[in-house]
């Protein structure tokens, strides 16, 4: 039972990391109706920028700010050269444009900062917390806990931003209908830059956390693929959905990775590890068949 809880908690905490990437998706989708496939590439780009700037002699905090500036520049360029030209196109077209964008960023980032795998130290130690281990016997990494704390703060800030500021309201209007928002006098192009910058910031936080755990490398682009099932489960438009979805997927994935291969092995024999790759997808898919809009998504009504 103790083993079970250890895996469960480990899964929940790694789910927080998935949520962080999923948050970036949700922000852009909520605010502009664009399904941003490039989020994973943005995580990679941001993390690589931090490391690249640190290699040029900047301290961590300055490198992080510098990387944020880089992400803002990227947002402006994206708005100027991609989104502005595709206003009011179908969502699928915009989605494919972000696939193009992700390839572009995946090529640009190593071209600017080099492509070798590099460590990134945030000064948070990755050790089990002794007090929790002594009282309950469950291993909880201090790094994971810190990441969860950072994610919580970020989510609170974003929720405030969407609910309480006029920009937040404008963002939601843009998401509903580009054309209508434009004719109401909402500066669509500025809104886009703002929201892509905010999601660049989320990508930066995610990239630094992931990067300090696994090293800053090309595999970071795969974080996007981890975030997709989270999104489906939570609903594309819901910030709490991204968090809850992340927790569920993280926990389900780790538990399945431990228990399902054993089950298969007793049936068929052989080694069945590595189901982490597809389990979240199938899990989310089965959930969709029951509730097509996700946990917290908005029910979509078609009109002819």
């Amino acid at each position: 039972m103790q083993f079970f809880f250890e895996i469960l908690i480990g899964g929940l905490l790694s789910g927080v990391m998935y949520s962080l990437v999923a948050l970036g998706f949700v922000l852009i989708f909520k605010a502009s109706g664009v399904f941003n496939f490039a989020q994973g590439a943005m995580v990679y780009f941001a993390a690589l920028s931090v490391v690249g700037l640190m290699e040029r002699g900047l301290p961590l905090w300055a490198a992080a700010i510098g990387a944020f500036v880089v992400m803002i520049l990227m947002s402006m360029a994206t708005e100027r050269f991609v989104l502005r030209k595709l206003v009011n196109q179908s969502p699928i077209t915009l989605f494919m444009a972000t696939i193009g964008l992700s390839f572009f960023l995946e090529g640009l980032a190593p071209l600017l900062w080099g492509n070798e795998v590099r460590p990134l130290s945030l000064g948070i130690v990755d050790e089990p917390i002794v007090s929790i281990m002594d009282s309950t016997g469950v291993l909880v990494s201090s790094f994971d806990l810190a990441a969860a704390g950072i994610a919580a703060v970020l989510v609170a800030l974003l929720a405030l931003f969407f609910k309480a500021t006029s920009i937040g309201r404008a963002l939601r209007a843009v998401a509903d209908d580009h054309q209508a928002a434009l004719s109401l006098g909402i500066p669509l192009q500025r809104i886009w830059v703002v929201v892509w910058s905010v999601s660049g910031f989320v990508a930066l936080v995610a990239g630094m956390l992931w990067g300090s755990r696994n090293g800053v490398q090309f595999a970071l682009t795969m974080t996007a693929l981890k975030a997709l099932p989270v999104l489906i489960l939570g609903g594309f438009t819901s910030i709490p959905g991204a968090i809850v979805g992340g927790l569920i997927i993280g926990a389900a994935e780790k538990l399945a990775e431990i228990y399902v291969p054993q089950l298969l092995q007793s049936q068929f024999g052989g080694n069945f590890g590595g189901i982490e790759g597809w389990f979240p997808y199938v899990f989310a898919l089965l959930f969709l068949l029951v509730r097509p809009e996700g946990l917290f998504g908005e029910r979509h009504i078609d009109r002819v």
Binding site: T93, G100, L101, P110, L231, G277, L288
Partner: protein, 358 residues
Amino acid sequence: MFYREAGQFKTSYVADSQIFPIRQDRIAVCSLLVVAFGILPWIASEYWLTAILVPFLVFSLAALGLNLLTGYAGQLSLGTAAFMAVGAYASYNFQLRIEGMPILASFALGGVCAALVGIAFGLPSLRIKGFYLAVATLAAQFFVLWVLTKFPWLSNNSSSGVITAQKISVFGVDVDTPVRKYLFVLGVVTLMALIAKNLVRSHIGRAWMAVRDMDVAAEVIGIPLMRVKLLAFAVSSFYCGVAGALYAYCYLGSVEPDGFSLDLSFRILFMIIIGGVGSILGSFLGAAFILLLPIFLDSTLPTIATVLHLPFTNATVSHIQLMVFGGLIIFFLIAEPHGLARLWQIAKEKLRIWPFPH
């Protein structure tokens, strides 16, 4: 002037419902086929046959399959490579396990297996659409590859799931030289392209397009959504499955599951975006473009680098390739959302009135 329909009167229903109703099109297609079947095998070098023409045809077929699903039926799919893998592995197993199985039959059965898998992963399309569905097809991508690596039976207990294609012979002729492989692939692709061309102008194709344009409206006018969508998944996966089998048997010889990665799926998606979504011709143009672009960049980038005195390594070239790919996708979506096929259409319209402007 050169492409004028005036004066070509159709006086019977048969004449009106030909595949290529305009005489110039018929001549163009026929001469293209004559060149492809009769002349190219003689003049093309071995490198061109094995490294460019065969993969071009194979990828065209896969792109055609994806185009039927995404371009005509409007269901976005990111799992093309998985369906190709199913086709390749299924054909391999039919050939391996059943004594004396004709190769064409095992290709067809491989396609059928891919179609069944496609239907299974297309089932969610009845409840969900758009992006949600794209993620569902990603599930197919990861799940299929995992199954292929974890069940050694499927690859005849080879290490890490590598299969080596058996020698094939069609109607008693061994398909072993580059020219024969090329002709065989060309034959299959030509046949299937013609079938696809016919399919999309039949009632099935029209139903697909209605679903693509607005599925609720299509349902209202009496199109059975479930059947039409699942049929699109089945046909598309069948095409991808056969393409996968050809990929294994006639292009690479031996393949592993990782060869059918998400990257390959994306490349095929790019082919249809650049070639033209919802166009048979576009699948071919896009495949040619995506296949030739890296070759072109590989040969030109180092030259440009030496001219400009830039330090270029192989890694740099591959990064620039990624950027060029991404940039081109965006460029095409902005400048010509209907892809290269549309450019050809514009050219035909210009030829119609050339040399006079009106």
